[in-house]
């Protein structure tokens, strides 16, 4: 068993005379200029693609829906961001450690959005909404249910204690149910 530390020798102290950091890389003007030009072009492209809704192919058309629009816009934005990061922000010329920081950040963002939205999607809210089971945004919306708060308040004040305020989906009206007669009754429902 050898001891990994036996081999350690103090590294030579770096030239301590040096008091300025010599830059290997002076930013090239034209590279940066072209990056800038491409960025402007991509901005225009984003705006342009966002306004295309149909692409004619032969006799038929391909429809570009909202999802596709988002994908296109986000892809272009990502390309732009990578250009800015790599050239303007010098990542391409820097030590890799900065890139590692960026990559872990993106990893964090993707996890955050990805896993949160996994939950959202699988909650099935929109499926049920599409089938008309619930109002847009659940049954808790002020705008789609203007009187909801008032009805609840009224029920809370005037209703019998323990009564259940329910929202009839079809009519949008509040239905105040009397309190259950006893516990057996209630559990029989379930």
């Amino acid at each position: 068993m050898t001891n990994p530390h036996d081999s350690i020798e103090p590294r030579e102290i770096l030239a301590s005379e040096e008091h300025g950091h010599e830059h290997v890389h002076v930013t090239p003007f034209w590279t940066m200029f072209w990056v800038f030009a491409i960025l402007l072009f991509l901005t225009a492209l984003t705006v342009w693609t966002a306004n295309i809704h149909y692409i004619p192919v032969g006799n038929s058309v391909i429809e570009i829906g909202a999802t596709l629009h988002i994908l296109i816009a986000m892809t272009i934005a990502t390309v732009k961001a990578v250009l800015v990061a790599a050239y303007f922000m010098h990542l391409k010329y820097d030590k890799p450690v900065n890139t590692i920081v960026v990559v872990s950040t993106i990893f964090g963002v993707i996890l955050f959005l990805g896993l949160t939205l996994t939950d959202t999607i699988s909650r099935g809210i929109h499926d049920r909404r599409e089938q008309g089971e619930i109002h847009a945004g659940g049954d808790m919306t002020l705008y789609s249910n203007p009187g909801r708060l008032e009805r609840m308040r009224a029920a809370a004040q005037g209703g019998v204690e323990g009564s259940v305020v329910q929202q009839s989906v079809a009519s949008g009206e509040a239905v105040v149910q009397p309190p259950p007669a006893d516990n057996e009754n209630q559990s029989a429902d379930h």
Partner: protein
């Protein structure tokens, strides 16, 4: 350093010595840059909160979201501001280039242009976006009042057109009103619009301060080929402000 000429002949960037706990200036510059990148990473994650909220509600209310972006926001303004921010990013890169070449004049000019771009961005934001929105009640959450404002406009319009009596006033009002149907969740869209763009705008404002500070240091000869770390970091900060806008713009104004 021992045989260096008298300090008075040296510009501050030439005479720069790293803080005592650093082994050399390269380490210090790289360390500062790494620190800045870590800070930028926190900025990105901060805005990730807005993006997450945006994506969440967009998933829940897709059409509403799409319509709201068309109704309430002007993509022309957003696009103009995007271009301006890109330009300012470019000029700050040129300022750093000027520092590397020891060209103080060009450095100041480019920083100045950057500063102007930032001011332009903020003025457009405040004067052409925020102010009309406040006036029209296109406000976040419970302050959202646009439908009422709209209905009133319709009525006023009808009053103006009505004397001609060619088209009945009620019809004018109706026609006008039918061009706008409020979505159930417009107020949340506007909430996200307001808090994300306001936070971004705040970063632009902070950017103007730090760029101003960098200009002052440039003016005082603190930046030159051998030392321009803080200018570089100001640049990095400014670029991240730009990158965040690159994402905010299409999400809010376009799709």
């Amino acid at each position: 350093m021992t045989s260096a000429p008298k300090d008075k002949e040296l510009k501050p960037w030439e005479a720069y010595i790293p803080q005592h706990h650093w082994r050399n200036a390269t380490d210090e510059a790289e360390g500062a840059k790494l620190g800045m990148w870590l800070f930028l990473s926190t900025e990105v994650l901060l805005f990730a909160g807005f993006f997450c909220a945006y994506a969440f509600f967009r998933l829940l209310y897709p059409e509403n979201w799409h319509d709201a972006s068309r109704y309430y926001l002007d993509w022309e303004i957003g696009a103009a501001n995007t271009a301006v921010l890109l330009l300012s990013s470019f000029t700050i890169v040129l300022a750093i280039r000027a520092a590397q070449q020891g060209n103080r004049g060009m450095m100041l000019i480019h920083l100045g242009i950057t500063q102007l771009c930032a001011a332009f961005f903020l003025i457009v934001k405040l004067g052409w976006e925020y102010w009309p929105k406040i006036r029209d009640g296109k406000l976040p959450g419970i302050f959202f009042d646009y439908p009422a404002v709209y209905a009133q406009r319709a009525a006023e319009k009808a009053m103006i057109v009505a004397p001609d009596a060619i088209i009945p006033a009620a019809q004018v009002a109706g026609d006008y009103a039918s061009t706008f149907t409020p979505g159930a969740h417009d107020h949340i869209f506007l909430s996200i619009y307001w808090i994300s763009t306001a936070t971004h705008g705040f970063h632009v404002l902070v950017g103007m301060f730090v760029i101003g500070w960098a200009m002052w240091k440039a003016y005082k000869w603190h930046y030159g080929p051998r030392h321009y770390t803080s200018l570089e970091n100001v640049g990095l900060y400014w670029h991240i402000v730009d990158i965040i806008w690159i994402f905010l713009f299409p999400l809010l104004y376009l799709v």
